[in-house]
Subunit: 342 residues, 2 copies
Amino acid sequence: MTTDDPNNDRTPTLADVARLAKVSTATVSRCLNSPDRVIEKTRTKVLAAVRDLGYAPNFNARALAAKHTNTIGAIIPTMENAIFARALQAFQEELGGSGVTLLVASSSYRADLEEEQIRTLVSRGADGILLIGYHRDPKIYEFLQRQGVPIVVAWVFDPQADVLTVGFDNFTAMKALADKVISMGHRRIATITANPEYNDRASERLRGIRAAMSEAGISATDLSIVESAYGIDEGGKALEQILAQPVRPSVVMCGNDVLAVGAIARAKELGLRVPEDISVTGFDDIEIAKISSPPLTTVHVPHRRMGKEAARMLINLVNATKDQKNTLIETSLKIRSSLSKR
Amino acid sequence: MTTDDPNNDRTPTLADVARLAKVSTATVSRCLNSPDRVIEKTRTKVLAAVRDLGYAPNFNARALAAKHTNTIGAIIPTMENAIFARALQAFQEELGGSGVTLLVASSSYRADLEEEQIRTLVSRGADGILLIGYHRDPKIYEFLQRQGVPIVVAWVFDPQADVLTVGFDNFTAMKALADKVISMGHRRIATITANPEYNDRASERLRGIRAAMSEAGISATDLSIVESAYGIDEGGKALEQILAQPVRPSVVMCGNDVLAVGAIARAKELGLRVPEDISVTGFDDIEIAKISSPPLTTVHVPHRRMGKEAARMLINLVNATKDQKNTLIETSLKIRSSLSKR
DNA sequence: TTGTAGGCGTTATCAC
DNA sequence: GTGATAACGCCTACAA
């Protein structure tokens, strides 16, 4: 065998294909990327060589030369939650339909990890990035802008923001639920929320509850707040904290459905009846809300629609097809039996 | 400005850093990759330049030159299921601890998509890949081997397989549960399962039920099988199919917990009491199993441990640290009140 | 310890 | 329609 015999065991390259098909590497490249720019006969010849060699293009080399990757990244707080998973699935489906592949990372709700992952995604050449929630170090937005990587922020709707958002108004949505709760006679309210300091969805929802109470003339001191990580067990523990307080609330408004079903389960374990002894509400309307017993009163969020819309916006943004605008996703109240009159 | 003025708006490169720090690109590269191979003084100088420019290495260029990416890929059937999410989270945590980043893709339980994603991961230069389940076209294994990309297969334990596996024995685990079910007096059994043809976990579990029945001298005709996609609603629909059959079974053994809670919810909606009128079992022991009402009898699978172990094996495999061997993850029965004596 | 220079596999700009 | 050939940004012998 001569030195430049292509038939050794390293993975085949464009050059190998070109040699076998007796054309130039440029032609092979064209066959793969814009087949119509090459004559039928040579195309079949090249494609045959591709198949014979089991050639697969080297993505990194391609990205390096082409300066785009047909890849969009997404950073979600966690995969261990149907909420994000559902939206992400729709996001991916929509992307796939346009031939772009998705790169996912999860930040575990940690700002430092998220920042790291943003840099990773950028250095990997993501053509665009999906982020959850608006609140983060301004430097990150500057960085992204400098790098020329377009982003879309989901889960919030904010026409004021200087980035594109797709989502709903967390304040209004939770306020609507709180209005309903109050209209049913509840005065002493407890809430289980994520740390609102670094989570704008959580802080807006909390603000919604406060606004509703204030409007109804209920003292802010009648709201007791427990912060908790998201999780079923965590919801249960938070409920225990609430019950340990001197005055028992008549309703517990939870930051999401996962916390809520955890709270319900624990309440029942402790011998309380839901909703007779204590009402519970959630947020998101994921599948467990329906099968919970009692079924959960919650705010319905069309996650799949949001994911799909985010993908559409991002694709258009990357292609600079046209000016995109913020898009509002409508939410609605889902009243089920975990909430009853006081 | 001269033509080679670095101070324009394209993103900075190694060369820019080198110029600013007045060293060669090789030195900059070394500073970043093996800092100890360069003297303190020049290192600080270089690092300062890196910061000033906001330089971030181009991942694709690095991968192209270095021929490895410090990246491991994982393809899971779906993200919309806590089962995989939980294992994947642990997988990622373990990888992160070793400085390797994770690339995730989800195949939607479709063999064709999975194959495509495997090729994508390979062409992106993944140093190793995690796959779920052993059953797939042998050509894929050949391809992976030719490309020199090591893999680990999770969710199954099979010492016979010619690839590394980490998981449990689906047959034995489900048989143990079926043994228990039968010991409680059940004779007419129904099962809701994923299509066993392309899902070796499902087919092994089904085989486990059959073996237990056979050992107990129960006719195979006393098993009624309903195939279903995984999902809460799907579980409910499958239960309806079961109830529509002439003879009602006394127990429904589900392929996973998600199907099981869906079946329970639907049964209750239809006025049946669980377990008095019909018992239900699951598989996996995810969080909803505990909060289901009644709580779900199921097979406990330590998903996080499995994910962590998979990461460890893959890292060692990539580094060729030492010979890896198949590792067995122990499962256990979780008996809760959704199963009662016949 | 540091610098020089060739190469990694593609794409894209030119000619022809 | 096709073929040379120069980038793309980084790593890594090899030399100094």
